[in-house]
């Protein structure tokens, strides 16, 4: 994963609430064995409507998406994060996110920025005409009009994002601790340690 520092540019003022991952990327697009090329199917049902904001030339290539409450609810498909990345979106700003989506976004270097609805409303206004800036280090969202909103980020996630750390690599360094756990489990809960081998 590439390190993430700040994201600046136009923001798509989408604003919808409870955007589910079937909307972000419909199931027909999940048949791929790659992570690439999903922008084509992103928001397919939304883009079927004439005059939709996603296809508005004003926001082509915008790196930020603004949405309503509970963004990314529903399925666990990481394809939703891949589709956003493929569209060029590397930050999503919303009042709240589903747990699985925010994890998937984080693992792909997409910032999920939670701000209260009134700040979102303000950013929706700004986004129509001007760029927005999201800075991970200072944990702020700013506009050319002196708006300055701070947001929370989990310290571990911030560290991983800013350094572009590989989580699997980090955990593999803890192999000894995992081995110790496995050894204890085989003693105390042997039935759990056996898995698919029982009937083999």
């Amino acid at each position: 994963m590439d390190p993430v520092s700040s994201i600046e540019g136009r923001a798509i003022p989408y604003g919808a609430k409870n955007v589910d991952t079937d909307v972000i990327i419909p199931a027909a697009w999940l048949k791929t064995i790659s992570r690439d090329g999903l922008a084509q199917g992103a928001f397919e049902t939304v883009r079927a409507q004439p005059g939709n904001v996603i296809d508005d030339p004003e926001y082509q290539g915008a790196p930020i998406l603004i949405a309503g409450d509970n963004f990314g609810c529903g399925s666990s498909r990481e394809h939703a994060a891949w589709a956003l990345l493929d569209m060029g979106v590397t930050a999503v700003i919303a009042p709240s996110f589903s747990d699985i989506f925010s994890g998937n976004a984080f693992k792909n270097g997409i910032l999920t920025v939670e701000l209260p609805q009134e700040q979102i409303d303000r950013l929706m206004e700004v986004a129509k005409t001007d760029p927005i800036s999201v800075d991970l280090e200072s944990q702020t969202v700013t506009t050319p009009f002196q708006d300055r909103f701070t947001f929370e980020v989990d310290p571990f996630r911030k560290d991983c994002l800013s350094k572009g750390l590989d989580e699997v690599g980090l955990t593999l360094e803890r192999s000894d601790a995992i081995s110790q756990y496995e050894k204890n489990q085989a003693q105390t809960m042997p039935w759990l340690a056996k898995g698919t081998e029982i009937a083999a």
Partner: protein, 477 residues
Amino acid sequence: MASRPRTLYEKIWDAHVVETRDDGTSLIFIDRHLVHEVTSPQAFEALRLAGRTVRRPDLTLAVPDHNLPTTPRVDAAGNRIPIADPQSAAQLEALETNAPSFGIRYIGATAAEQGIVHVVGPEQGFSLPGSTIVCGDSHTAAHGGVGALAFGIGTSEVEHVLATQTLLLKQSKTMEVRVNGELGPGVTSKDLILHIIGVIGTAGGTGHVIEYRGKVFERMSVESRLTVCNMSIEGGARAGLIAPDETTFAYFKGRPLSPTGEDWDKAVEWWRGLHTDDGAVFDKSVTIDAADVEPTVTWGTSPEDTSAIGGSVPDPMSFADPNKQEAARKSLSYMGLEPGQKLSDVEVQNVFIGSCTNSRIEDLRAAADVLRGRKIATNVKWAIVVPGSGLVKQHAEAEGLDKIFIDAGLEWREPGCSACLGMNPDKVPAGERCASTSNRNFVGRQGPGARTHLMSPAMAAAAAVTGKLTDVRELVK
């Protein structure tokens, strides 16, 4: 171990902490990992590129389910019938190759044990009480019905679990959903969970693990508990739990991968302690009166858009939240419904009985009880029954349920996810309605333009008979 009273969730969590870091995240050991063809290819590819192996192939089980057509899989000569969609075929082939090459047990498309991952896990005795279970699928929450901490993960996490058998997690908050009293006649676990989601909303459980508590759940079969916990994610909670009890232990006794002998005795002894202690505190608590739950259907495009079957399509202006008003207007436009329209007047052209929510033997029996000796309505053009696994299918056939369905005019299919999300050829045509026992009524979920009404198997069967949304209690007195 701490003597402070703990919730069931905390007990399972504590038993799986490998280590806790200074920033409060813990490395959690994963006991069981289910893998299917849709969310795994990129994970296996990443392992291969990094030269990494699967740490515990013995704790992983791979089964194809999403893409498989539900039409026959072998011809008269016993040869496998090729899959027409080249993308589906490629994804299925990837799993069939990846699983054995990483040493993972693979249940193939034509095996009797094949089925939807969330049906197969408990059925095989792979998903055990008190274990941590993950799968690249949000309905992994289902396994909480056996008292396991089970949740859906993304593909990067699938890769992490394959490589390390752990996940780095922050402890969730806890939420109690307590149901008082008893469900009325003709009201099922599906009606109850739809009702609960209607009350708490699709974000009601975000950041929380739900524990369902009360006599209603204690009296439920394991299958009904799986249905309830399955849809926890529709209430925003990554996991749902029901404490294991004698019903659970009886369910697991003798299953292929269940513990045996001394292991079994030790397991049951530990399982008996898996319940929330008196005095343990939940971060959030919701109480529901079972007497308020009627046979329930959805009218909109969010699982929280629920109503008792006796009700009407709501007026969007009746919602206090302006966002919800707008969402409801859009939903009704997509669904082709008018405010005030009686739900029991809404005609359906399609019926789908299946999915990881409702495709176990108990579900099929409930549908067959309604359909026995009846025919589907003439306006119902497509009605299919898709068992959750090959073993469920065999079981149903041994009971003659397949004949009841076929005689009534429904199609009896091969197991898989099918029309729940239409990754295989089973889709609902645009603009048509489907009475569906699945879990999501999202825009386009069952096919582009498809209109989904979620309900229980008995209610879907009733809709098949009358051709419209129907209170099953009127058919089964």
